[in-house]
């Protein structure tokens, strides 16, 4: 195959090449000349001429296959790809922002910032996983921060689309990934586990909050496998400012068995955004690494990890949001809502419940929680919300409580559902009233606009 001749000024299939912006081991990235009102574009050209690494070719094939099938703000928009037989390339959106790699000189970052970054990356991963793709190379240089603050994942050369042939799977005997971030099961060759990306994100958060990589940067397969039995130093040992809840979350991401990590990226994001409600286990207060004997025993039992049981799909671990409105619902209605929640949570033991109440502000700016009265109202609502959910008897960790302040309850519920990737909204129907016929109902508006399933619950009316 002839070396692709791409250089400043050359025109390829109508795309005018501007300047080289990156030269990596597997591909070269060129800026494309675009008009002032057009989306900035880049052209990615694999380094086939050097051709020494077959992974460069296969990785490019994978990206060519996967990228056109992805949509949304959390990935670069695909524009075009070149014929592999003549000149292989991919033209895609040039994300105007910096990668998380540019933050490395600032490490360690404040724990709150790490949690915020982690939550935004988790949201991006959830969007990817819902499109049937496991990234398998989550690391700072593959996460771009858009000017909007949204995280976009780039480089799908090692990714696996669960509904397309996995060309990397059969191709190579060594695991492919980036050493500091690779999940244990990925080291063993598993490429179909979305929670491998949660492990990588856990490594990233550990690194960002401590300034140290949890498993170093091993260069051999033997070194990579060490993470199967050797636990990392707890983050709080290295950075006492790291709060117990963040250590809890990070160490849960770094669990060797994917079953012990968060079931989905959306659930991880929810935890990172509600620190006060993260149930703390022994992980939160762990000090020092396990002793030699414990680690040695694990090393001997490493085979049990080889037969990791495949977890159920994300559909079995949804986040269910219940919007509780104290002003219009009586006890029969509340009972009907709780009965509905019991059914849903009973059928899906790994589901999470987010109990939400909207504290209605009369007008923006006039009453805010900044004053004492506002804060009191907010706290009182939280207490009432917990009381409302008490009869459900849900274990700690399965439920979180949120009071949203907004002028429009419907907008607040919809915003919350969108930004937390809620799978199912349960809410009460407004009782029959003149107000409803005049103003329309919140549930009607939510049902029409929601990004997910909405169940509108009404207590069975008494017969006349």
């Amino acid at each position: 195959m002839a070396a692709p001749r791409v250089g400043p000024g050359s025109v390829i299939d109508g795309y005018q090449i501007d300047s080289q912006i990156h030269k990596g081991g597997m591909a070269t990235i060129w800026a494309i000349k675009t008009g002032p009102d057009e989306t900035p574009l880049i052209m990615k050209v694999p380094r086939l001429a050097e051709g020494e690494d077959p992974a460069a070719i296969v990785g490019f094939e994978m990206e060519q296959m996967i990228l056109p099938r992805l949509t949304g703000p959390h990935v670069p928009r695909f524009v075009a790809s070149g014929d592999f037989r003549t000149l292989p390339y991919i033209v895609m959106e040039w994300i105007q922002g910096k990668s998380l790699h540019t933050r490395l000189p600032d490490l360690p970052l404040p724990p709150e910032e790490v949690a915020d970054i982690g939550a935004r990356v988790a949201v991006a991963l959830d969007a990817l996983h819902r499109q049937q793709v496991v990234h398998l190379d989550v690391k700072p240089s593959n996460v771009m921060v858009r000017p909007t603050g949204e995280m976009a994942l780039i480089d799908f050369g090692l990714s696996h689309h669960l509904q397309l042939p996995d060309l990397l799977d059969e191709e190579f005997r060594l695991p492919y990934g980036t050493a500091p971030y690779m999940a244990p099961e990925q080291v063993l060759g598993e490429r179909s586990e979305p929670r491998s990306d949660l492990f990588a994100l856990g490594s990233l958060m550990y690194f960002f909050v401590t300034g140290t990589r949890p498993f170093g940067d091993p260069q051999s397969l033997k070194g990579l496998k060490k993470r199967l039995w050797r636990d990392p130093e707890p983050p709080r040992d290295l950075r006492p400012e790291c709060p117990p809840w963040l250590q809890e979350i990070i160490l849960r991401c770094l669990e060797v068995n994917p079953e012990n990590r968060h079931p989905t990226a959306a659930q991880l994001a929810l935890d990172l955004r509600t620190p006060a409600q993260v149930p703390l286990t022994a992980r939160a207060e762990r000090k020092g690494q396990d002793g030699f004997i414990t680690a040695f025993k694990r090393r001997m039992e490493v085979d049990s990890i080889l037969t990791v049981k495949k977890g159920p799909a994300a559909g079995d671990a949804p986040i269910i949001m219940v919007a509780v409105d104290f002003t219009t619902t009586g006890e029969p209605a509340a009972n009907a809502m709780r009965a509905m929640i019991r059914q849903l949570m009973g059928a899906m033991p790994r589901a999470r419940l987010a109990c939400v109440n909207v504290l209605k502000l009369r007008r923006i700016g006039l009453d805010t929680t900044l004053d004492d009265e506002g804060e009191h109202k907010h706290l009182q609502r939280l207490i009432e919300l917990r009381h409302w959910a008490r009869p459900l008897e849900l274990p700690e960790g399965a439920v979180t409580f949120h009071v949203l302040e907004a002028t429009s309850p419907a907008d607040a519920i919809l915003d919350y559902a969108r930004s937390n990737h809620i799978d199912h909204i349960v809410m009460g129907a407004r009782e029959r009233s003149t107000m409803r016929s005049l103003l329309g109902s919140v549930s009607g508006e939510v049902a029409a606009e929601a990004p997910c399933t909405v169940s509108v619950v009404r207590a069975r009316a008494e017969e006349d």
Binding site: P54, I57, V58, E61, Q64, M65, D83, F84, R85, Q163, L164, P165, D166, L167, D169, E170, E171
Partner: protein, 248 residues
């Protein structure tokens, strides 16, 4: 060009009709039908099935020969007792024109960068089953085209062969378009219209878009009860009816 691949119809009129209706209802019309063999055997409607295919071939469809088609006009050697008894019954229920049509079917057809063959391409008349990666490799290596499309195994599958000889097996998800990347060679096993054996009783077929080089596998539910009742009413082995319900 959009090609629809149908194979292993096995005299199942209900399944075949449902697939034709499904293909006709597509927003992008099918430009060419390709039948990959085994139109008869097992089911109760051989004459109607062969007539329908013959009419479509007159209008430009391609049809190749399967082992059951060959057996129906000759000897049913090497078949299990149920299949052999169905073939003997089939032969009695086909008219001369239908038998002549089956007799004249080619063993394989090359169409641009595609080879159509019922079973293993390395020995099309030996009717070997391509059931694993090794068999897929043998079949692909024997073909001279980039793509090979076959039936015979009644289970949908794709095998990709890279230029350094690595083989990637894949079980397709119905309705998801799969790109048959240009830098590899591919074997597509289409799955059966009239007697699926992968546990899903719905009829299987696939469409291939030559422009985007994408193949999409489809499953079409059909009136299994009716097809099964007809098999029993015809006095064919009862197992041939019950397996339609199980998709095995």
């Amino acid at each position: 060009m959009l090609i629809a691949f149908l194979t292993d119809i096995h005299s199942n009129r209900e399944a075949f009709s449902a697939v034709l209706a499904h293909a006709a209802a597509r927003t992008k019309p099918v430009d060419r039908f390709v039948f990959l063999g085994d139109y008869v055997g097992y089911g109760a409607d051989p004459q109607w099935t062969v007539e329908t295919i013959a009419e479509m071939v007159d209008k430009g469809a391609i049809a190749i020969r399967g082992n059951h088609d060959e057996a129906a006009v000759g000897a049913a050697h090497g078949m299990n007792p149920a299949a052999a008894s169905a073939i003997e019954w089939t032969n009695r229920h086909l008219d001369k024109a239908a038998l002549r049509f089956l007799e004249r079917l080619p063993l394989e057809v090359v169409d641009d960068d595609r080879l159509y063959v019922h079973a293993d391409a390395s020995a099309p008349d030996r009717w070997l089953y391509v059931i694993d990666g090794e068999a897929a490799r043998i079949s692909l290596e024997a073909a001279e085209t980039r793509l090979v499309f076959s039936g015979h195994v009644h289970v949908p599958a794709i095998y990709g062969l890279s230029n350094i000889g690595k083989l990637t097996p894949f079980k397709p998800t119905p309705g998801v378009a799969i790109p048959l990347l240009a830098q590899r060679r591919w074997l597509g096993l289409i799955g059966s219209v009239g007697q699926p054996r992968d546990g899903d009783p719905a009829a299987a077929y696939a469409t291939y878009d030559t422009h985007s080089a994408e193949i999409t596998f489809h499953r079409v539910p059909y009136d299994v009860d009716k097809a099964a009742e007809k098999i029993l009413a015809a006095g064919l082995p009862a197992g041939l009816a019950s397996r339609l319900h199980a998709g095995r």
